[in-house]
C-alpha cells in the first residue's frame, strides 16, 4: 500500500486553505522544506513568515498575528514547538486562548536518523496539560487534511502532531473527522486497542492476526487526545474489560496516561500501555527504531495477550 507522510498532506492542505481564506498565515523557523510549509510560502509569499531559528519568537509573533485577527499556522519540529517554546505557548498563546494552530512535524522516534535529540516523545504530554489546548494526532492522510481544516475553522489554540515518515491509508474520503470524537475501526469483545498516529495501522494489523487466532479485538483511533472522547473510552472498557493503548510517545503523559486517567475514575479495568518506555530515542531508520522500541504489530499483540491474561486472573480472583 502506498504510504503518505502526514506532513506532506499538511503542506498541500495549507495551500488550499490559503486560497480559500485570506486570513490564513503561516510561520516557520527555518524548517519550511521539512515541515512542508514551503508550499504555502511559494504561493503566498507575503503571508508566509520565516522567523529563522528562533522558536520562542516564532510563537510570540504568531500570537500577535492571532490577536490582530489572523489565523496563524505555526510549524517546526515537535521537539522545538513544544519543548523550546513551551512557556511561550503556555503563557502567550494558550493562556489568552488565542487562535494559533501549532502543526508540528517530525514527532516521535520515526524522525529516525537524526537521533534522540530530535525525537519528541514528550510533546503530547506537554500540550495536553495546558487548559483549553486541543491536541490532535492524525492517523493518515485523509484524517490529517480534515484535522487541519477543522483547526482552521475552530477558534482557539490547537496542537496537531504530524510525522516525518509515510503512513498507510486508514480512511477514504467518506470519513468525517470530528474534534473530540474517537473513531471505532473494528469491534471485538476480548480486548480494545486504543491507538493514535502511526500506531493505528499496526493496531489494525494486530487485530487481524489475533482474529485468525480466535481473539476478537476492538480497535479505536483516538486522534483527538484532548478533549478526549471519554464516552468512547468507557464504552470500550465496558465491552471488553481489557484495554491496550499504543502510541509513538513516552508511556508517561500521552494517550496511555489520558486513558488511564479516564479508566481510573470511571471504569477501572486492566490496562497495558505501549509506548516508548521512559527512555530517549537514538539514531536508526524509522523501521529499526519502531522494532527496537517495540512499537510494532508484535508489540501490540503481546500487550493484548497480556491484558487478556490479566483480565482472566482478575476474574478468577473475584469469583
Amino acid at each position: 500500500m502506498k504510504k503518505i507522510a502526514t506532513r506532506d498532506v499538511y503542506g498541500r492542505t495549507l495551500v488550499e486553505l490559503g486560497r480559500e481564506n485570506q486570513d490564513i498565515v503561516v510561520l516557520d523557523a527555518d524548517l519550511a522544506k521539512s515541515t512542508k510549509t514551503i508550499e504555502f510560502g511559494k504561493e503566498f509569499p507575503h503571508r508566509f513568515f520565516d522567523m529563522g531559528i528562533a522558536e520562542q519568537n516564532l510563537m510570540g509573533t504568531a500570537a500577535g498575528l492571532a490577536v490582530a485577527g489572523k489565523i496563524p499556522f505555526v510549524s517546526t519540529f515537535a521537539i522545538f514547538a513544544t519543548g523550546r517554546a513551551f512557556e511561550q505557548v503556555r503563557n502567550t498563546v494558550v493562556y489568552p486562548g488565542l487562535s494559533v494552530k501549532i502543526a508540528a512535524t517530525h514527532a516521535g522516534i520515526t524522525v529516525g536518523e537524526d537521533g534522540g535529540s530530535h525525537q519528541s516523545i514528550e510533546d503530547i504530554a506537554l500540550m495536553r496539560v495546558l487548559p483549553g489546548m486541543r491536541v490532535v494526532v492524525p492517523a493518515d492522510a485523509e484524517e490529517t487534511a480534515q484535522a487541519i481544516r477543522t483547526a482552521a475553522a475552530s477558534p482557539g489554540p490547537f496542537y496537531i502532531r504530524l510525522g516525518r515518515a509515510g503512513v498507510p491509508q486508514i480512511y477514504d474520503s467518506s470519513y468525517r473527522f470530528e474534534l473530540g470524537k474517537a473513531s471505532v475501526l473494528r469491534q471485538g469483545e476480548d480486548a480494545a486497542v486504543l491507538a493514535c498516529g502511526v500506531l493505528v495501522a499496526p493496531a489494525l494489523q494486530a487485530a487481524e492476526i489475533l482474529f485468525n487466532q480466535g481473539v476478537r479485538v476492538t480497535v479505536i483511533n483516538i486522534s483527538t487526545i484532548k478533549p478526549l472522547d471519554v464516552k468512547a473510552v468507557v464504552e470500550a472498557a465496558r465491552q471488553t474489560r481489557a484495554m491496550v493503548t499504543a502510541e509513538e510517545h513516552s508511556v508517561i503523559g500521552g494517550l496511555g496516561s489520558a486513558v488511564a486517567e479516564v479508566l481510573g475514575e470511571h471504569y477501572p479495568v486492566p490496562l497495558e500501555r505501549l509506548g516508548v518506555a521512559d527512555t530517549f530515542g537514538e539514531s536508526g531508520s524509522p523501521e529499526e527504531l519502531l522494532e527496537k522500541y517495540g512499537l510494532t504489530v508484535a508489540g501490540i499483540i503481546a500487550k493484548v495477550e497480556r491484558v487478556i491474561a490479566r483480565k482472566k486472573t482478575m476474574f478468577f480472583k473475584q469469583s
Binding site: 513568515f49 520562542q56 510570540g60 504568531a62 500570537a63 500577535g64 490582530a68 503563557n91 486562548g97
Partner: protein, 271 residues
C-alpha cells in the same frame, strides 16, 4: 511645543501615580518601583499620541500598546481606568480573587489589555505579529511596546528585535524603561546589558535616548519615531525607579513591594 499640553500631561501623570500607589496599597502586594518609572511614557501615549477609543477597545484601526514588562500592571490599569476603559472603582480589586485586574495583565479579563503579559521577554514578538497583521490588512495603526531594562536579559527579546528590523516594522516603537534596577540589585551588577543603545542599533533599530520622565523629550521622540521609515524605533528612556516618591526612588527594595497605609499617605503628600 504647546506648554498647555505639557502641563496637562504632567497633571495627568500625577493622577496616574496617585492611582498606582492607592491601588497597590489597597492590594497589599505588587510592583511599585517599575510602575512609577513608566508613568510619563504611558501618559504621553494614552493622553496624546495614540489613536484609540476607550468606548470601543476592539476598534480595528486603533494604535496598540503592549506592556511587555507585565509586572508594571498597576501602571497600565491606572491609565486604562483614567481613560475610561473601565470604572476607576475596579482598581480597588487589584490582585484580589474574582477581580478583573489580575496580578499581571490578562487580556481575557481586562478591557483595553491587548495581550496577556507577565512572563518577561514576550511582548515585542507579539507587537511584531500585530504589526505584520496591520501591514497585510493595509491598516496604518502603530504598535507601542514597553520593555524593562532587566527584561532585555531575556534572549527572546533579541530574537524579536532581529525580526522587527528584518521585516522593517517601522510602525513598531519600543520604549525601554531604563530605571537601572531589577529584583536582585542594579541591572549592571546582576547581568549587565550595556551598551544598550549600541546593541539595538546593531540589531537594525533607530535609537533615540532621552530622559524618560521629560514629557517634551518623550513627545518629540515619538514624533521622530513616526517619521522614521524602514526600521523600527526604540526610545531608551533613562528613568528613576519609584519616581515621584522620595523614599522609593532608586531603592531596589521597592521593586516588588506595595506601600503600607502610612507609606501611602507620605507618598501622596509628596505628589
Amino acid at each position: 511645543m504647546d506648554n498647555n499640553l505639557i502641563k496637562n500631561l504632567e497633571e495627568q501623570a500625577k493622577i496616574v501615580r496617585r492611582r498606582i500607589l492607592e491601588m497597590l496599597a489597597q492590594a497589599g502586594s505588587g510592583h511599585t518601583g517599575g510602575s512609577l518609572s513608566g508613568v510619563e511614557f504611558a501618559t504621553a501615549l494614552y493622553w496624546h499620541e495614540m489613536r484609540h477609543d476607550p468606548k470601543n477597545p476592539a476598534w480595528p484601526e486603533r494604535d496598540r500598546f503592549i506592556l511587555s514588562k507585565g509586572h508594571a500592571a498597576p501602571l497600565l490599569y491606572a491609565v486604562l481606568a483614567e481613560r475610561g476603559y473601565f470604572p476607576v472603582e475596579e482598581l480597588q480589586g487589584l490582585r484580589k480573587l474574582g477581580s478583573m485586574l489580575q496580578g499581571h495583565p490578562d487580556m481575557k479579563k481586562t478591557p483595553g489589555v491587548e495581550i496577556s503579559t507577565g512572563s518577561l521577554g514576550q511582548g515585542l514578538a507579539v507587537a511584531n505579529g500585530v504589526a505584520l497583521a496591520g501591514r497585510l490588512n493595509q491598516q496604518d495603526y502603530r504598535v507601542y511596546v514597553m520593555l524593562g531594562d532587566g527584561e532585555v536579559q531575556e534572549g527572546m527579546v533579541w530574537e524579536a528585535a532581529m525580526a522587527s528590523a528584518h521585516y522593517k516594522l517601522d510602525r513598531v516603537t519600543a520604549f525601554l524603561d531604563h530605571n537601572g534596577l531589577q529584583i536582585d540589585g542594579p541591572v549592571a551588577e546582576v547581568m549587565n546589558p550595556e551598551p544598550l543603545a549600541d546593541k539595538w542599533r546593531a540589531f537594525g533599530w533607530h535609537v533615540i535616548s532621552i530622559d524618560g520622565h521629560d514629557l517634551r523629550q518623550i513627545l518629540s521622540a515619538l514624533e521622530e519615531a513616526k517619521k522614521t521609515k524602514g526600521k523600527p524605533t526604540i526610545i531608551i528612556g533613562k528613568t528613576v525607579k519609584g519616581k515621584g516618591v522620595s523614599f522609593m526612588e532608586n531603592q531596589v527594595g521597592w521593586h516588588g513591594v506595595a506601600p503600607t497605609r502610612d507609606e501611602l499617605q507620605r507618598a501622596l503628600a509628596e505628589l
